[in-house]
């Protein structure tokens, strides 16, 4: 199976572990990810604050490239996904794009990474690759804000209780916990500008995961990952309570279940080291 990939800026920097695990599990599953040629930044959360036209045009440029290829477009970042979907709606309404001449037919779907794996690759193919079922792991899935909101843009079927990542991890054998914070905001947008607010919001999510009986959190976005993983030491000091919850890219858990040899390299890039938990559960 071949699809287009819009990686987004973080995949080559901050989220290298996500990038490497996506490449590894795709290979195992026989999925050829074709990175869009000469893609550029989607504008993320900064463009729409500054100018609506800029926000649409920066994202639309990439859809123009995907349109030429004509294959479905997979997006492994919540913010990128929402910005590309916003531009898609704009283009489908036939509205002009400022500063860019673009030909757009739109005969392809834009999909978040977990939905693509669940709906297009499918349960059977996933199960076939499982060498090490994750039965002893109890993750909660954190989707963040922008893969689901607002549904008029994202076309999320279940914006208050998405299921894609839950389904994928269940097919690996994991005992996925239910919780009500799947799509609550971590304040990632404010991580650099109001770290106090961001940490408060992240703490709520960590607390709720613990309350749900989870031993780790799975995410499908570089920003969600960094926002929950990188500040646990600071949050602990602030809260007077120790936080040490491993945050996995869900593709890392896939790699773990598929017995990929590179798993420990990916996990070595985290701030909260997930390896002690996995050793304790005899998964590595």
């Amino acid at each position: 199976m071949e699809v287009s990939l819009y990686p987004g800026c973080s995949l080559h920097g901050l989220a290298r572990a996500y990038n490497e695990s996506i490449e590894a599990v795709s290979k195992t599953l026989g999925v050829e990810l074709r990175e869009l040629d000469d893609w550029t930044c989607c504008g993320s959360s900064s463009a729409h604050v500054t100018s609506d036209k800029l926000a649409v045009a920066l994202a639309a440029r990439n859809l123009g490239i995907a349109d030429k290829v004509g294959m479905d477009l997979v997006v492994p970042c919540a913010a990128c996904y929402q910005r590309l979907k916003t531009a898609e709606k704009h283009l489908k309404q036939g509205k002009p794009v400022e500063g860019l001449s673009i030909k757009y037919e739109g005969n392809f779907h834009i999909k978040p990474m977990p939905d693509f794996l669940w709906e297009n690759v499918g349960e059977k193919a996933l199960r076939e690759q499982v060498k090490k079922p994750l039965k002893v792991l109890n993750p909660v899935c954190y989707y963040g804000c922008l893969t689901v909101r607002p549904p008029k843009v994202t076309d999320a079927k279940n914006p208050e209780d998405p299921q894609g990542m839950d389904n994928v991890l269940r097919s690996l054998g994991a005992k996925v916990r239910n919780w009500s914070f799947k799509t609550d905001c971590c304040g990632g947008n404010l991580a650099l500008t109001r770290p106090d607010l961001h940490m408060k919001l992240a703490q709520r999510i960590l607390d709720m995961a613990e309350e749900a009986g989870a031993d780790c959190i799975a995410v499908a976005c570089p920003m969600c990952h960094d926002n929950l993983d990188s500040k646990q030491k600071e949050i602990s000091i602030e809260a007077g309570k120790s936080y040490n919850i491993p945050i996995f890219y869900f593709t890392e858990l896939m790699g773990l279940a598929f017995n990929d040899p590179a798993v420990e390299t990916w996990l070595g890039r985290h701030t909260v080291d997930p390896r002690p938990l996995l050793r304790q559960r005899e998964l590595i």
Binding site: C9, S10, H12, G13, L14, A15, R16, D38, W39, T40, C41, G43, S44, S45, S46, A47, H48, V49, T50, S51, D52, K53, L54, A57, L58, R61, Q82, E98, G99, L100, C145, L146, R149, P150, P151, P159, D184, C185, G187, G188, N189, L190, L192, T193, R194, L197, L201, G268, R269, H270, T271
Partner: protein, 203 residues
């Protein structure tokens, strides 16, 4: 504003917000119209159900909570709105937009208010927020893609000076060791530069 017919009304339902406790001049709809035009959203459709505020993750840090902010726009309380913390601490999480029973895209209105406030040269109550977005976008403009390390360094330098930048160095080294820092930025992209120029011309 001055030549408009105004009448004094007590602001019912605004107790507790910074734009409360005083009578306001209503029948000043020019600000509401400006916001509606810029955002394409129907501010006047809001009937103050408070659903937006109830789902907002940062309402505790706002001086005017979302439904009251919308009310302030309806009433034409321009200065209160454009100087508020609210428009800069809103995390753009889109929960309000998703839940509004009247289909008002409140998060988009927040964007429009930020844009109006910036274009009118109003000093942002949270100065560092527009500094961050500008640092981000200038990285995109120059390299086509964001270089996280460079962007964070420019933001820190502009918002907290050299001292702040030095304080960041330790964290940067840590991330470098974990392989989270890309060494070189991407190459400039002409189309991206054109997009920025067009947006500058047309706002």
């Amino acid at each position: 504003m001055a030549n408009q017919k105004t009448e004094e009304y007590p602001v019912i339902g605004l107790q507790g917000a910074s734009c409360t406790g005083r009578s306001v001049s209503v029948l000043n709809s020019s600000f509401r119209k400006q916001v509606e035009e810029k955002s394409g959203e129907k501010v006047s459709a809001c009937y103050q159900c408070e659903k937006c505020t109830n789902g907002c993750p940062v309402e505790f840090a706002m001086d005017i909570v979302p439904h009251k902010l919308i009310y302030c726009v309806q009433l034409g309380l321009r200065d209160e709105v454009l100087n508020s913390d609210t428009i800069w601490v809103c995390a753009s999480c889109e929960t309000c937009t998703t839940r509004c029973p009247n289909g008002i895209d409140i998060a988009h209105i927040m964007d429009s208010l930020r844009q109006i406030s910036q274009s009118e040269g109003i000093k942002a109550s949270q100065e560092q927020v527009p500094i961050f977005h500008n640092a981000f976008l200038s990285s995109v403009r120059r390299f086509g893609r964001v270089h996280e390390g460079e962007m964070a360094a420019i933001y820190t330098l502009r918002s907290s000076g050299l001292k702040g930048l030095m304080g960041m160095a330790g964290m940067g080294l840590d991330m470098f060791k974990k392989g989270k820092v890309k060494i070189l930025p991407h190459r400039p992209n002409k189309q991206v530069k054109d997009i920025f120029r067009a947006a500058e011309r047309k706002g």
